[in-house]
Amino acid sequence: MSARFALVTLCLAVSSASAADPVEFNRDIRPILSDNCFYCHGNDASHRKAKLRLDIREEALKKEAFVPGKADASELVKRLFLTDPDEMMPPPDSHKKLTPEQKELLKRWVAEGAKYQNHWSYEAPSKAAVPSTEKAIDSLIAARLKTKGVAPSAEADRRTLARRLHSDLLGLPPTPEEVDAFVKDTSPDAYAQLVDRLLASPHYGERMATAWLDVVRFADTIGYHSDAPRNVWPYRDYVIRSFNQNKPFDRFTLEQVAGDLLPDSDQEAKIGSGFNRLLLTTEEGGAQAKDYQQRMLNDRVRAVGAAWLGQTTGCAQCHDHKFDPFTQRDFFTLGAFFADINEPDIGRREEGMLLSTPDEAKRLTELAGEVAKAKKALDVATPSLAEAIAAWEQELAEEGKPAPAAKKTKAKAKRKDPDAKLAAQATPILKKPAAKRSAAEKTIIRDYYLSLHPEALKAEREALAQAQKTHDTFRAAIPKSLVTTKAAVVRTVRILPRGNWMDESGEVVKAALPHYLPQPKFEGRVPDRLDLAKWLVARENPLTARVVMNRLWAQFFGTALSKNPGDLGAQGELPPNQALLDWLAVEFVDAKWDMKHMVRLIVTSEAYRRSSVATPAQTAADPYNRELARQSPYRLDAELVRDNALAIAGLLAPKIGGPSVKPYQPDRYWENLNFPVREYMADKDESQYRRGLYVWWQRSFLHPSMLAFDAPSREESCTDRTRSNIPQQALVMLNDPTYVEASRAFAVRTLAEKGDDDHRLTWAWRRALQRDPDAKELGTLRKVLTERRAAYKADPAAAKELLKVGLTPPPAQADPSELAAWTHVTRVVLNLHETLTRD
């Protein structure tokens, strides 16, 4: 037997029933039935075969699928063991096949009475008995480890702990000095103090924001077709602020889903309501309004399903969910909550809410006043203008000339030239007697006259133009953000047969909550978005707190407690340690949705602080570390790869918030974008050195260095990033100007240190890794330095070429060959697996 097979077998043994234990439906049976049977014998009535459903016991009994306690008399069991392709289950064309072990399990289950359990995540979570709040996590993990016979690892060394905490709470590396101070701090609460200090850092909000921005699919562009920009970056600042202020998660939810409807709605809540506007939209010519109205409804249902409910809802656009009780009706009634959002179905989004400070608002009012004043001055002067126009008309009439073409008219530009348009509009009006013209027509004649006579009212017109320009320039600089407002007319929502928007034969539905989940009664009224938001964070909602805690866990251990954070339904995973997830969920609600409290509980646990080095016994018993006897090492997320390098290099601009930034990007990377064609203009100031979460998020062409490290395009909600290891990552780290410049800046810092080569090599190593290199490591670095030094001395032109990369000029007094050689050393250090890894 191969080692790999042995691992698989052991792994199964961890999670399923041993021969001695009674079979448990949720743990042992539902996964088999769901994956192999529910597709035809589950929730979706339209696809159900033989009218048999196995997801509800009473229904299965009605159709005599099995006789509880009598496996041999049960049709279900019999069918499992048949080989006739017409009789066997699952049938061959399903491409599903049960293992002998699974068949035996089902047989045992029927023999033991075919007991069902409600699906775990639809039941209210409860707290298991624990010694104390602080010890809850560890006691619940220890209980499992004891039964599995796995010994936990010891606590990691202090340097690793400091690195881990900085990475997980701030997304930035500690300095060697910070690590040294922590290592030397012998006070019993040194660790707790470090945690408190990091939780209070403004970078904590940035770190926490990233995962949430994935979930809500935050991006700077609309996604479809032209993938045009839109104003949403203030929403990102809102998320960062919310985490930094430790806004209770229930309030955070209310603001995002229904910030416009809150009785105490303020500017902050309204920016939060921008969540509803983060979806994909189109400006494509020929797009049909109803098509996109429907796409947007679908998009929102999927996002709410993923972000708060951990339910996969997308399939119910066309039919009832195959595995979960979520129906097509649930899909459209959930979508109907969002039918009141004021937005265009297709085309350009509005500029968004003006987010002016009180001072700015005041100034803007003043400037608007200036414009009004200038307009008035022009109007006052109008009587003389009226006379001039009358005289001009008289002249035209006497000469019998047709209306002259307006200035600047070129036949080519006719369609777009406003003057030409004006001339065309004016011509028929001029034929009417002045007395019979409407006010609008008079304005056209006036504008037309002015376009032909630049000298008329010149001073007044210039003054108005100037006032308008000042006003507009000032206004343009004020941030704007898309927010939710309630539409005057609520869109009609129908159940669409097969999800087809052109089929309007389906029933019209009103907003309603998913029917299978506990919910309040809305007597005599249709619930609105605020009701939805309140229900999402109601204590009786069994999902939200679990979903949020499950994802939070992944941030600190690499894997969520139920491993598919986007799906806590039947096809998701019953968490191996459900008691732990449930305890965290209930505690989260009990603590009034206090996020920092939960983060603190997690990072101060013994489980969190364990070493990530696995013992052979641990690897054998639990290869994927689901029982948490140890920590797990994993690569930094895309944004943090960038942050880490810039921080080590001393280049990082630590500013919090603001508009998105544009790091260096390969030329012509956007060449396939159009409407309009765009040229990427990399930032030329400190924005070049901002953190990764501020990078301009172009959905159709995400920045390639972010993409290489698995940053999602955020077209759909992303609850779980993949963590790949591909050659493009090496190309980015080696060749992207961001990292070349970071290496050079890092080298400049290193050379500023007084001392010999070894001292400086050690200094650079410690900057990145906060530990001393061993003799071999030092030797490898020394070899790089020696070889590059010799090579660049022989070819100083090459050195100068290398030093030119990036915005920041190298110090004038630097010896190019020496600095270039050191740039290779620091480049090696920035590229190390250890540098890129949180362990």
Binding site: P633, S713, S724, N735
Partner: protein, 472 residues
């Protein structure tokens, strides 16, 4: 087979690094991972593999089948007359929404080619010369009617973003035989026309499949692969020095931690370093004979569709699994008569050349070539955008396939007499995907991966069929 990485002690490695090309020696020690000659998840194919690779020629914008492949004399008779409402009532339209619908006859002549008399437009003379090698499908349909969703559907089988593209599915299933080159490659050229429709990287995204299966775009200007070139001032030798130092230090680390990713990272740095040589080698077509260049009708490095066809053949020779070419600017809402001939000319000779070249090299038999837009165009004229054109259309489109067991000289399916809707042997995009997978040796309805609880497939939820009539 693959040694347990945890058991490779650091000392066993150090001896290797001290030898010049230690990094390369390391590869054999660790077992290769990454792009190169990587096996797919389908170790045993359920069906005979007729196609070893796919070259997919995407004519982005939606070429007009009525001027290229679908000859409609009746439509010519109806030219200028109202489109009968029986065809169009209740149907989805794009830019012609709410406009009066007028028939527009074909703008170019058709003639018969090859032994079977395949009807092709006068705009495709070169393709006509290889008519017996291609199978034209006149009865293709699609679900989407706007560019972006239609590209998404054609590439991923879904109109919801985030699904894997067909190239990713294929390399996920079959892996790649390419040494040091990506298995799924994308090349883009743009017609010398007006303002082409945009395309998005999601069209070659790996979606929920592992990122290593994403399409890698090869560019004709700048770095052929993003970040491929060394920074200025860094030579290949000094790059190698750095990569060796990084890998050597990482190997030290591998002995100390329980992180199998260290070994993978070492392999990927090696791979990246090798790609830095292999990709320029691929892109350098100066070794191609004058005869070959003449056959395709292009100059080395001109970034044309024809040049990309040569690169496609070179990639095919080197083992890439899925090679997708985009040629942009086929969206002829207007200027159909003026612009379409230019686009046709840009691809006609190159398509013939690709088929001829592959045949000469004995690769036509196991290379599947697909030529297709993202949707078709209406038999109704569009006149609101300048000189006449045609609008987007999803009820009928034409395309062709060649090689790898596809019947040559065949015209499959038919549209109604006005070319409005596919009537006979109607095909869907999912059928096309099923057929492609079938030729690759894959059962399309059993080729799945779990996503959101479902056994997700390239061919979607609704039943789809292999188009057997076009296969020999």
């Amino acid at each position: 087979m693959f040694p347990d990485l945890r058991q490779i002690h650091r000392r066993s490695f150090i001896g290797n690094t001290s030898r010049g090309l230690g990094a390369v020696a390391l590869a054999s020690l660790l077992g290769r991972t990454g792009l190169e000659a990587a096996p797919g998840v389908l170790s045993k194919l359920p069906l005979p593999q007729k196609a070893k690779r796919v070259i997919w020629l995407t004519m982005a914008g939606g070429p007009s089948q009525l001027e290229l492949f679908d000859h409609k004399p009746k439509l010519a008779e109806m030219d200028g007359k109202g489109m009968p409402e029986s065809f169009t009532t209740g149907q989805q339209l794009a830019q012609l929404q709410g406009q009066k619908l007028i028939c527009q006859g074909p703008q170019f002549k058709f003639s018969k080619h090859g032994k079977n008399g395949t009807e092709l437009s006068e705009l495709l003379p070169h393709l006509g010369s290889v008519a017996d090698d291609i199978c034209v499908i006149r009865s293709m349909t699609t679900d989407a009617i706007n560019h972006d969703p239609a590209h998404m559907f054609m590439n991923t089988g879904s109109q919801i973003a985030g699904r894997p593209s067909m190239g990713s599915w294929v390399t996920y299933g079959l892996g790649s035989e390419a040494e040091d080159l990506p298995g799924f490659v994308v090349l883009v050229s743009t017609g010398k026309g007006r303002s082409p429709q945009p395309i998005a990287a999601r069209q070659w995204s790996s979606g929920f499949l592992p990122s290593k299966h994403q399409g890698v775009q090869l560019r004709s200007k700048g770095d052929p692969v993003l970040y491929l070139n060394n920074p200025p001032g860094i030579s290949r030798a000094s790059q190698q020095g750095d990569v060796e130092a990084i890998n050597s230090l990482n190997q030290v680390r591998a002995g100390e931690v329980s992180d199998t990713e260290v070994a993978t990272r070492i392999a990927q740095y090696e791979m990246a370093f090798r790609m830095q040589a292999s990709v320029p080698g691929l892109m350098d077509v100066t070794g191609e004979s004058a005869k070959t260049l003449e056959l395709y009708g292009c100059q080395p490095g001109d970034g044309s569709f024809a040049s990309n066809c040569i690169l496609a053949r070179r990639l095919a020779e080197r083992g890439s699994r899925f090679i997708q070419l985009y040629h942009r600017d086929w969206d002829h809402h207007s200027l159909l008569k003026e612009e379409l001939p230019l686009r046709a000319k840009e691809v006609d000779r190159a398509c013939m050349a690709l088929i001829t070249d592959l045949k000469q090299r004995g690769m036509f038999e196991d290379t599947l070539i697909v030529w297709s837009g993202e949707f078709g165009r209406t038999p109704m004229k569009q006149g609101d955008k300048g000189p006449v054109g045609r609008d987007h259309h999803n009820k009928a489109m034409s395309m062709w396939l060649a090689g790898a067991g596809v019947k040559g000289g065949l015209t499959h399916g038919a549209t109604d007499e006005l070319g409005y809707a596919a009537m006979d042997k109607v095909c869907t995009v999912h059928d096309l995907h099923a057929t492609m997978l079938h030729q690759l040796g894959i059962k399309h309805d059993a080729f799945t991966i779990k996503f959101q609880g479902l056994d997700a497939k390239l061919t979607g939820v609704e039943p789809s069929k292999v188009i057997r009539e076009i296969l020999s």
